[in-house]
Symmetry: C2
Subunit: 250 residues, 2 copies
C-alpha cells in the first residue's frame, strides 16, 4: 500500500460515489461515507482513498478538506481503468433478511450484473427491502474490487418474469426435481448468450411453475447435484459454476 | 409426503443419531432432538420421522412412546440406502462466528467430507468452537439429505497442516495473488485424486506461506477470478466448482 492510503484488513479502502470522476474533481462523500472516513477510519488531511462510480474508472483521491462531520476528496489519478463484469443475472426468490443480505453480498463478489427478486407461489417473504439490497451491493462492490455495482431490481412475480423475459437471454433454471443435466455440462453445451440464473424459494418451485419453465425455449433446466441445497446456497453455487464455465474465471 | 410424516418447509424431518439402526430398533433422541420433536414439531404417537447415523442407511421411524420431555422412536423400514459424499476436504482459516457458521452449513450442503480449520499467520480468530461446528454440520446434514455428517476436526496451524499432509491428496490452494490457472481448468488437468481445498483468512496468506505452498508438489494453486472474494465466499465457490468438475455434480 502506498503512503497515506487508508486500508482495512481486507485491502485498500474503496468508495462508490455517484459523481463524475476526473483529474482535479472535488467529491463530497455522503453522510454515511463521511462518518466512516472520519470516525471509523480516522482519516486526516492528505490521506488517500480510491473512488469509483461505475463509469470513469477507479481514482486515487486525497482528503483535501475536513470538518467534524464532513470532508471533501480531490481526484488525483486513475489507478484502474473502467471494466465490466460478465453479463449474468441472478433471478432469485426473496428469502429471509439475513440470508438475503448474504446472497446479495456474495452474488456481488461473484460478479453478478443484475439482481432480480422473483416472487414465486411458495415464496414466504413478501417484502423486499430494495434500499438495503442496494446498500449491500454497494458495500460488496467496494470491498471486492468491482468497478461497477450490480443493478438491484424491484421484485417481479414469477408470471411477470416469464411474460416479460428477453427471449434471447438463456434462463438457467436450477431444478431440484427431475433429471436435468449437471449445470457445468449444460453450460458447455449451450451455444447462446447471454445468461441468467433462476433459483427457487425454500420448498422449491410448484409443479405448475416447473411446467411453465419447461415450456419456454429460452429456459435451460440444470441440476446442482444430489443433495438438497438451501435457496441461498444454490444461488451462489450456480453463480460460481457459471463464472468458471462461461464467465471471467475461465 | 406420506401420512403422519413430520415435515418443515424445506422437506421431511430427518434426524442424525449415533445409535445403530435396524428394523424394530428403539431409538431415544437426545434432549435437544426430543425438545424439537415434542415442542416445535408437536409430534404425536404414530408420527413418522427419518433417522440416519452415517452407517446404516436412512430409516423411517415412528414415535412409539412419549412423555412431556422425552420420546422414543422405533425404526420401521429403510427409505434410502447408505451412501457417501465424494472425498473432498475443506481446509479453511477460522473466521468470525457468523461467517464460520455459514461456511460449515454451506460446505456441508455442498457435500464436503472433512472440515479442517487451519490457523494461518494472518488468522485473527483464535478460538474455534468445535461443538458449535459439529452442531451446524449435523443440522445441515439433516436438512440437505446427506447420509453422513462431515468430520469436524480440531484446528491445526498452517505449519502443522503442511508437515502432516497425506501427500497423495492434492491440495487445491485458492491463491488470490499471482497468476494461477482458473480452478475448473486446473481440476480438469489434474490426474491425481483425492482432493482438498485450502482457503485463506481475510487479508490472505502471507508471502512466506505462499512460498511454502508453492514448494510442495501436492499443492495445486488455482485462481477464483479477478475479484476479491471474502474468505467464506471463496470456500463455497471452490467447493461448488469442485463438485461440478470432479465431484458428484458431474
Amino acid at each position: 500500500m502506498s503512503k497515506n492510503e487508508l486500508t482495512y484488513p481486507g485491502g485498500k479502502l474503496r468508495l462508490y460515489v455517484e459523481a463524475p470522476l476526473a483529474a482535479g474533481t472535488r467529491v463530497v462523500p455522503d453522510e454515511q461515507q463521511s462518518h466512516y472516513l472520519l470516525n471509523v477510519m480516522r482519516a486526516r488531511l492528505g490521506d488517500r482513498v480510491s473512488l469509483f462510480n461505475g463509469r470513469d474508472g477507479e481514482w486515487s483521491a486525497r482528503v483535501v478538506d475536513k470538518s467534524k462531520r464532513a470532508c471533501a476528496l480531490a481526484c488525483e489519478r486513475v489507478v484502474a481503468e473502467q471494466s465490466a463484469v460478465p453479463d449474468v443475472w441472478l433471478c432469485f426468490a426473496p428469502i429471509k433478511r439475513t440470508p438475503a443480505d448474504y446472497v446479495v453480498q456474495k452474488a456481488t463478489e461473484l460478479g453478478v450484473g443484475v439482481l432480480q427478486p422473483v416472487v414465486t407461489r411458495r415464496t414466504i417473504v413478501s417484502r423486499v427491502n430494495l434500499a438495503r439490497m442496494r446498500a449491500n451491493a454497494i458495500e460488496a462492490s467496494e470491498q471486492s474490487g468491482r468497478m461497477s455495482i450490480p443493478d438491484t431490481c424491484a421484485p417481479l412475480t414469477f408470471d411477470e418474469l416469464l411474460a416479460t423475459w428477453p427471449t434471447e437471454r438463456r434462463l438457467i433454471f436450477c431444478d431440484e426435481v427431475g433429471a436435468a443435466p449437471p449445470m457445468a455440462q449444460a453450460l458447455v453445451a449451450e451455444r447462446e448468450q447471454p445468461f441468467a440464473i433462476l433459483t427457487g424459494p425454500e420448498g422449491g418451485f410448484e409443479r405448475t411453475e416447473r411446467a411453465a419453465l419447461h415450456a419456454h425455449p429460452f429456459v435451460v433446466p440444470v441440476s446442482l447435484g444430489p443433495r438438497i441445497l438451501r435457496a441461498d446456497t444454490a444461488a451462489l453455487a450456480a453463480l460460481a459454476i457459471w463464472q468458471s464455465v462461461r464467465g471471467d474465471w475461465h
